[in-house]
């Protein structure tokens, strides 16, 4: 496997997460009508971290927190040789008239976000949906989707692969770029 190039790690990584949290606080205040939703499986690593920071920074943030699996909503299901196995969805609330922040680690083609928005409709009609993403690969979009809160914009060729590693899984927080998909 070719060695990946480190884009950011450790302290810079923590500063980026902290900035995203502050941007959310600036926009939503006490989060009284807000739902934060991580997209399974990798977006949940990010949303867990952000939710943990927000709970530490604010006394009692009023948001509801859910984890959404979008496997059954993907548009590439029958173009694959094998079906994808689903992750668990943990959505213990309806999103009717709520402000939603969807969270995923890497915004790439935009198809995952499209599927997430379809899935979200099944929990009611939200008043507003925003997207928070740690990485935005801005030149690789297939759909007119963009992030509202972006940790880092990465310009990469289509063959490249951007990977986010988390302390919980990999021992260190860092973002790596590989010249080709693994």
């Amino acid at each position: 496997m070719p060695k990946g190039k480190v884009i950011i790690e450790d302290e810079r990584f923590a500063i980026t997460i902290e900035r995203l949290c502050q941007q959310l606080i600036e926009r939503y205040g006490d989060f009284s009508n807000t739902c934060l939703i991580g997209i399974q499986p990798r977006g949940v690593m990010l949303s867990d971290r952000i939710v943990q920071r927000l709970r530490k920074n604010l006394k009692s943030p009023g948001f509801q927190y859910g984890k959404l699996d979008i496997t059954f909503y993907r548009d590439d299901f029958r173009t694959r040789d094998k079906p994808l196995q689903a992750n668990t969805t943990e959505m213990e609330f309806l999103v009717e008239d709520k402000d939603i922040v969807l969270m995923d680690d890497v915004l790439y083609t935009g198809r995952t976000i499209q599927a997430a928005m379809t899935a979200l409709q099944h929990y009611g009609r939200p008043s507003n949906v925003e997207l928070l993403t740690l990485i935005d690969r801005r030149f690789n979009r297939h759909l007119p989707i963009s992030g509202d809160y972006v940790g880092l914009t990465v310009d990469a060729l289509d063959e490249a692969y951007v990977k986010v590693e988390w302390k919980e899984n990999n021992g260190r927080d860092r973002i790596l770029m590989f010249p080709e998909k693994q």
């Binding site: 399974q40 499986p41 699996d69 496997t71 059954f72 909503y73 299901f77 029958r78 173009t79 694959r80 040789d81 094998k82 079906p83 994808l84 196995q85 689903a86 992750n87 668990t88 969805t89 959505m91 309806l94 379809t118 899935a119 409709q121 099944h122 929990y123 009611g124």
Partner: protein
């Protein structure tokens, strides 16, 4: 988000599945159970798949359950029942199915009175076949939903003792359940009148008993089957009343046991024959949970068997 696949492209019987297949179906069904408890119970996964439900034999539960599962996956569904079709005019099974397939159908769910009919079709046609019951042979989705329902109460099959009571000889549910539970590592016993228990059933690795009390004392779970009078050409026991006296499960019998047994029934129940109402409607029975799980399990099977678009015929 791992890619997973069943080892077979059809579901003809539990016999043809392996242990990882069963686990994959259960894990997928867990996800679909969450889906069918949402306010909007529908996902778009199979939105360009057409499924034909071919029922050459009567069915209420299985048919509605499959149809709901298909519709909740957004598949297009065509229904067929033999009583209102050209089968009555003398058409062969293969001709009927080939005619339906030429209308571009991707999957076939079939119930048929002849054992092996789905296996025959699988050899001759291109679509994915799901067996919804073939004569006295197998009823794989029933066994899957039974095991899935047991798993919600007893996650470890290796410690579990399950007795199947009743008409083992004519029951496709019994055979599929035996295959399924044995593959999962459970201990299985069959219980019923000697005439309704096949000779050499022990060769499947199950115990047998002719005494309902002994069987229930042994078991953690009892799956009570219906007496299939429609398949019995000769008399296998003197009367239903006598059957009920010797093998019927009632409150008094259950209360006299040392430990509590979880009661299951695949339906339809003949109340007052194999199972009394004071048992069927009690907290000890999970009969309605089985029905709910049936939809989730069938969604999982359909999802896992749906063909990739590239390999379907154009």
């Amino acid at each position: 988000m791992a890619e997973m696949q069943l080892s077979s492209r059809h579901l003809l019987g539990i016999k043809y599945l392996n242990h990882p297949d069963l686990e994959l179906i259960f894990e997928t069904a867990d996800s679909f159970k969450e889906v069918i408890n949402r306010p909007i119970k529908k996902v778009p996964s199979l939105r360009d798949v057409t499924i034909a439900n071919l029922f050459f034999e009567n069915s209420t539960r299985t048919r509605i359950s499959f149809e709901l599962a298909e519709k909740r996956l957004s598949a297009d569904v065509v229904n067929f029942s033999s009583s209102a079709s050209s089968v009555k005019k003398g058409e062969t099974l293969l001709d009927t199915v080939n005619n339906i397939l030429s209308m571009k159908v991707d999957m076939v769910v079939m119930r048929h009175p002849a054992p092996g009919a789905p296996a025959f079709l699988a050899e001759h046609i291109d679509a994915h076949i799901i067996n919804a019951g073939d004569g006295t042979h197998e009823h794989p989705t029933q066994a899957l939903l039974d095991a899935f329902s047991i798993r919600e109460h007893f996650p470890d099959f290796k410690k579990l003792k399950i007795v199947i009571v009743g008409d083992i000889l004519h029951s496709r549910v019994a055979l599929s359940n035996i295959f399924c539970l044995k593959k999962l590592g459970a201990q299985v016993m069959v219980c019923g009148p000697p005439t309704l228990i096949p000779k050499h059933i022990e060769s499947l690795g199950v115990l047998k008993s002719y005494d309902i009390r002994e069987a229930l004392e042994w078991a953690d779970v009892a799956n009570i089957l219906r007496i299939q009078l429609e398949r019995q050409e000769i008399k296998y026991f003197p009367s239903l009343r006598e059957y009920q006296q010797y093998f019927g499960v009632n409150r008094a019998l259950l209360d006299s046991l040392k430990s509590e047994v979880m009661i299951m029934h695949p339906g339809p129940i003949n109340r007052g024959v194999e199972l009394d109402s004071d048992v069927a409607d009690s907290d000890q029975s999970i009969i309605l949970e089985q029905v709910e799980n049936g939809v989730a399990v069938r969604m999982a099977v359909l999802y896992l068997l749906a063909a990739p678009r590239s390999t379907t015929k154009v």
